[in-house]
């Protein structure tokens, strides 16, 4: 399993995946729609899949002494690693901003507990659509990206807009009381993400078994 991930990082991942993953730091920007961070991650994944097609990465992997479905597993692991790394990178900056920018983010949601919960759900929406769709052909990355990006963007817009409604101001807070109230969103996000990626792997592998390379 580690060897497959190593292969993804050394051969398959496009440098842009690393750059977009680093964009987790954007939560330190004083006024910015932080939901964009998750969409940048989606772009990084898309570029890597395009690059994989260009470099015949899928062929290479399918010829390694692994099962055909392990090609799918390798991609799932790469995406999970990129998304989790992005969240981890953003965390210290999210904490830092509460100290150096206490006036908050006027553009949209704060980088708070709810934000990370929603983020996991947004990642899950993208993964659930993008990967099974891509592995129907192991070729059409553009179509899969478009189909996945539209609902993911819709979810980001919803998250950014909802916090402007008075009823949901608690979602836009970094006060400890509000953040405690936001914890269930994080829990739901984590559950959706974990269940999502497991379904993604099973369905994508099933699709890929039928693909003629």
């Amino acid at each position: 399993m580690f060897d497959l991930l190593y292969k993804e990082l050394r051969l398959a991942a496009h440098p842009n995946l690393y750059i977009f993953t680093l964009l987790g730091v954007l939560v330190i920007v004083p006024a910015y729609p932080y939901g964009m961070v998750f969409l940048f991650s989606c772009i990084g994944v898309y570029i890597t899949f395009m690059y994989g097609r260009e470099t015949n990465d899928i062929y290479y992997t399918a010829l390694l002494p692994v099962r055909k479905r392990d090609t799918v597993k390798a991609k799932c692991m790469l995406i999970v690693l990129a998304q989790m790394t992005q969240l981890l990178i953003s965390l210290p900056f999210a904490i830092l901003r509460t100290h150096i920018l206490p006036e908050g983010n006027p553009a949209g949601i704060e980088a708070n507990v709810a934000y990370y919960g929603f983020g996991l759900i947004i990642y899950a929406i993208f993964n659930v659509i993008f990967l099974p769709q891509f592995f129907k052909t192991a070729y059409k990355a553009g179509k899969a990206f478009l189909l996945a990006l539209i609902p993911a963007t819709f979810a980001v817009v919803l998250m950014e807009v909802i916090v402007h409604f008075p009823k949901f101001t608690w979602l836009d807070s970094v006060e400890s009381g509000s953040m405690l109230r936001q914890l269930p969103i994080l829990a739901v996000g984590a559950a959706v993400y974990i269940i999502g990626i497991n379904i993604v792997y099973r369905v994508s592998a099933k699709h890929f078994e039928q693909v003629d390379l």
Partner: protein
């Protein structure tokens, strides 16, 4: 024991069917898979590697079902798809560093020996290799993990006569100890005169004949003209079998 045994391999495409292909390749032999362009050579090779999902048929490598022992079988094979290059922009060193992690029998000394023998510079990028050098690099990877069965799709296409001769000579040497077997597809019949022990001929997705070379040539004696005394060359067999007349 056979290195490879293919039974009833069938794959339907709209407008093309690979129809119940059956052949076997004993250890220590070189088999040429011939056919005109579009006859189904690549589909056959891809199907037996599970790159293409066959509709039916069984594939056994070293006496084991390939689909049930995919990982294990792949440890013992080396594949070169002539038309496909991996990671053009990466250095050979990088591709090797990743590839070797997957093979339990990787032999670093052998790898270095083959690099030297094939005059491959590990610091070169894949894109900077000539077609012949790319095939040799893929062979070096395959041989360094001690592959017992080499499956090569048109490895000699696009090579100059010298490189081709060089490669065919290498194939003969590789099977000499009786441990390795080679299955390679080609439409260049002179390759086979030089180095194949067995020949499998596919036409329009159907198996015409799979046999030891002299038996194969004898089988097609019916194509000879009355004044021809000696056996036909493989090229003549192919041309006479495939010849079409256009009514224009």
């Amino acid at each position: 024991m056979n290195a490879l045994s293919v039974q009833g391999l069938t794959k339907h495409y709209p407008g093309f069917t690979l129809d119940s292909i059956t052949f076997s390749l004993p250890r220590g032999r070189v088999m040429g898979l011939i056919g005109s362009n579009g006859a189904g050579k690549t589909t056959t090779l891809k199907s037996l590697l599970n790159l293409v999902h066959p509709d039916s048929g069984t594939i056994e490598m070293f006496g084991k079902s390939f689909l049930e022992n995919e990982e294990n079988c792949k440890q013992n094979i080396g594949v070169v798809l002539g038309e496909i290059d991996f990671y053009d922009q990466k250095k050979l060193d990088t591709v090797t560093a990743v590839t070797k992690r997957f093979y339990s029998k990787w032999d670093e000394k052998a790898y270095e020996k083959y690099l030297e023998m094939f005059e491959l510079d590990p610091q070169k990028r894949v894109k900077d290799l000539s077609t012949g050098m790319r095939v040799k690099y893929m062979l070096a990877l395959a041989l360094s993990h001690n592959a017992k069965l080499l499956i090569l799709d048109e490895p000699t296409s696009g090579l100059d006569p010298v490189s081709r001769d060089d490669l065919l000579g290498l194939f003969r040497k590789l099977v000499k100890d009786g441990e390795r077997s080679i299955l390679f597809s080609t439409h260049i019949t002179s390759d086979l005169e030089k180095c194949a022990d067995d020949i499998t001929y596919i036409k329009g997705g159907k198996l015409l004949k799979s046999a030891e070379k002299s038996a194969f040539i004898k089988h097609f004696d019916y194509l000879k003209k009355p004044d021809e005394k000696t056996g036909l060359s493989l090229e003549e067999i192919m041309i006479r079998t495939e010849r079409r007349s256009y009514d224009v």
